[in-house]
Amino acid sequence: MAVVLLPAVLAAEAGGQKRFEVDAATVGDALRALPVNNLLFDETGALRRLINVYVDGVDARGGRLLDEPLRADSEVRVVGAVAGG
C-alpha cells in the first residue's frame, strides 16, 4: 500500500488524519481516493495549480504527475506551493 501524507489544513479537513494508506496504481488514483479530493482537484478534475506532489521525494510535476506510477511502498507527499514570500 502506498502512503499519502497531507499538510495540516488538509489533515484537519480529513477529520484530523494526516497519513493515509491507499491501494493505488498512480498518483492520480491515490489522490482521488482521499476524502479531501475535492480540495485537491477543481470541478474539471484538474489538480489545483498551487498544489505540489512529491513521490519518494521527487517532484511529480517534473514527471508524469497524476499518471506517475506508484510502488507498493511509495510515499506521496502533498505540499502547498511556496507562495507569498
Binding site: L40, D42, R48, I51, G80
Partner: protein
C-alpha cells in the same frame, strides 16, 4: 440583548459574544487556514455557515451544528464541467425565504442549497444571463456579494455587473441599474456593468433599496427601477464599501467613505462613519469615540446592524467597533484580530 458576532478574517473565523455589550468573549480562530469571506448564523436552526477560501485548496463552504466545535465541508460545489467558468471564490451566504440557503460567488454566480449547505446547485438564470459578456471583474474579482430576499423578491449585486432582481425565485434576473453611474465605462450609464459594492433592502419598507457603489451612494424607492444618487450633501467622498441600515427607520443609513478608488483607506484620514436620517438628503459624521486619525479600511461585509439597530464594524487592522443605535459613542470591543473580512450580528 446577548449578541453573537461571527467575524470572518483572513486567518479563520472568530466568534465574539457579549451578554451586555460591554464585556466581550472571543472564541477562535476556528477554521484556521481558511479565509472566511463571510459567515452567518442561520436564524432558522442556529447553524453556522462560512464561505471559506484557501489559495491552495480552492473555494468552499463549511457548516457547524454545534456552535463551531466541529465543521462539515460542502460535498459538492462547483460550476458545470462543460462550461468555461471555474469557481474562484465563495463570497456571501444568505438564509432563504423557505428552507433553502443561498451562496454568492466569483465569477458572478449564485448557488442554492436545499440540504443546509451539504450540496450546492448553480443558478442557471444568472450563469447563463444574456448580458454576462458585458460583465467584468472588479478589484476583488467578479463577486456576487449581496443577496437580499424580501416579500418574494430576490435582489443580488455583483461587482462589476450591477444589481439584478428576480420575481420568480431566481429563474430569471432583470438588471436594475437605471441612472446608476459606471464612470469607468465608455458609456457611463449602461444597462449592466456597474460596480455595486453593497446593496441592502430595508426590512420594513421592501420597496426601498440602498447601495454603496464604486461611483456613489444611491437609494431607490421603487424596488430598483429608478435610483437617486445621494453623495455630496455632507459625505467627504462618493467611494466606499460598507453599508448599514436601521431596522425600524427606513430613512436611516450608514456608510464609511474611503478616499478614492485608487486609495482604499479612510476618507480624509479619519475613521468616519456617516449617518443620514433623512433618506440621504444630508449626511453627518457619527464617529464619537472613533480615532480621528486612522487609515484603516472596512470591507464590503465589514459593517453590520442587529435587530435593535446596534452597529458593529471590523477593520483591516483587526479591531471590532460597536455603537448603540444612532451611531455613537463607539467603543472598541475587540482588537488585534487578523484582517477582518466580514461582520454579522445575531442574537446569542
Amino acid at each position: 440583548m446577548a449578541v453573537l458576532l461571527p467575524i470572518g478574517t483572513r486567518k479563520g473565523l472568530f466568534l465574539v459574544r457579549s451578554d451586555d455589550g460591554k464585556a466581550w468573549e472571543v472564541d477562535g480562530p476556528l477554521l484556521p487556514g481558511w479565509s472566511v469571506y463571510h459567515a452567518i448564523v442561520d436564524p432558522r436552526d442556529s447553524a453556522l455557515h462560512a464561505a471559506t477560501n484557501n489559495p491552495f485548496y480552492g473555494a468552499t463552504t463549511h457548516r457547524s451544528d454545534d456552535g463551531g466545535k466541529t465543521w462539515e465541508r460542502a460535498e459538492a460545489l462547483g460550476l458545470p464541467e462543460e462550461g468555461d467558468l471555474k469557481l474562484n471564490a465563495t463570497w456571501h451566504l444568505e438564509a432563504g425565504a423557505d428552507s433553502e440557503l443561498w451562496l454568492g460567488a466569483d465569477p458572478g454566480v449564485l448557488f442554492r442549497s436545499d440540504d443546509a449547505g451539504k450540496t450546492w446547485q448553480v443558478n442557471r438564470g444568472l450563469l447563463e444571463h444574456p448580458t454576462r459578456d458585458r460583465w467584468q471583474p472588479g478589484a476583488g474579482g467578479m463577486c456576487t456579494h449581496s443577496i437580499q430576499l424580501v416579500d418574494g423578491t430576490m435582489y443580488i449585486a455583483i461587482s462589476a455587473a450591477g444589481a439584478f432582481r428576480s420575481e420568480d425565485g431566481g429563474d430569471s434576473w432583470t438588471p436594475i441599474n437605471k441612472s446608476v453611474a459606471a464612470e469607468f465605462m465608455p458609456d457611463p450609464y449602461p444597462d449592466v456593468g456597474q460596480c455595486v459594492h453593497k446593496l441592502l433592502v430595508h426590512p420594513r419598507r421592501p420597496e426601498r433599496l440602498w447601495q454603496q457603489n464604486h461611483c456613489g451612494v444611491y437609494r431607490s424607492d421603487d424596488r430598483g427601477d429608478n435610483w437617486e444618487r445621494l453623495d455630496g450633501n455632507g459625505l467627504p467622498t462618493s467611494f466606499g464599501f460598507a453599508l448599514a441600515l436601521d431596522p425600524e427607520d427606513p430613512d436611516v443609513a450608514y456608510v464609511i467613505p474611503e478616499q478614492s478608488q485608487e486609495h482604499h483607506f479612510t476618507a480624509e484620514g479619519r475613521l468616519g462613519v456617516y449617518r443620514t436620517g433623512d433618506g440621504g438628503a444630508s449626511w453627518e459624521l457619527a464617529s464619537d469615540g472613533l480615532p480621528e486619525r486612522a487609515w484603516v479600511a472596512v470591507l464590503r461585509e465589514g459593517l453590520a446592524y442587529d435587530d435593535e439597530g446596534k452597529l458593529y464594524f471590523g477593520t483591516q487592522n483587526g479591531s471590532v467597533w460597536t455603537a448603540p443605535r444612532g451611531g455613537g459613542p463607539w467603543t472598541e470591543a475587540v482588537r488585534d484580530l487578523p484582517p477582518i473580512l466580514s461582520v454579522e450580528a445575531a442574537a446569542a
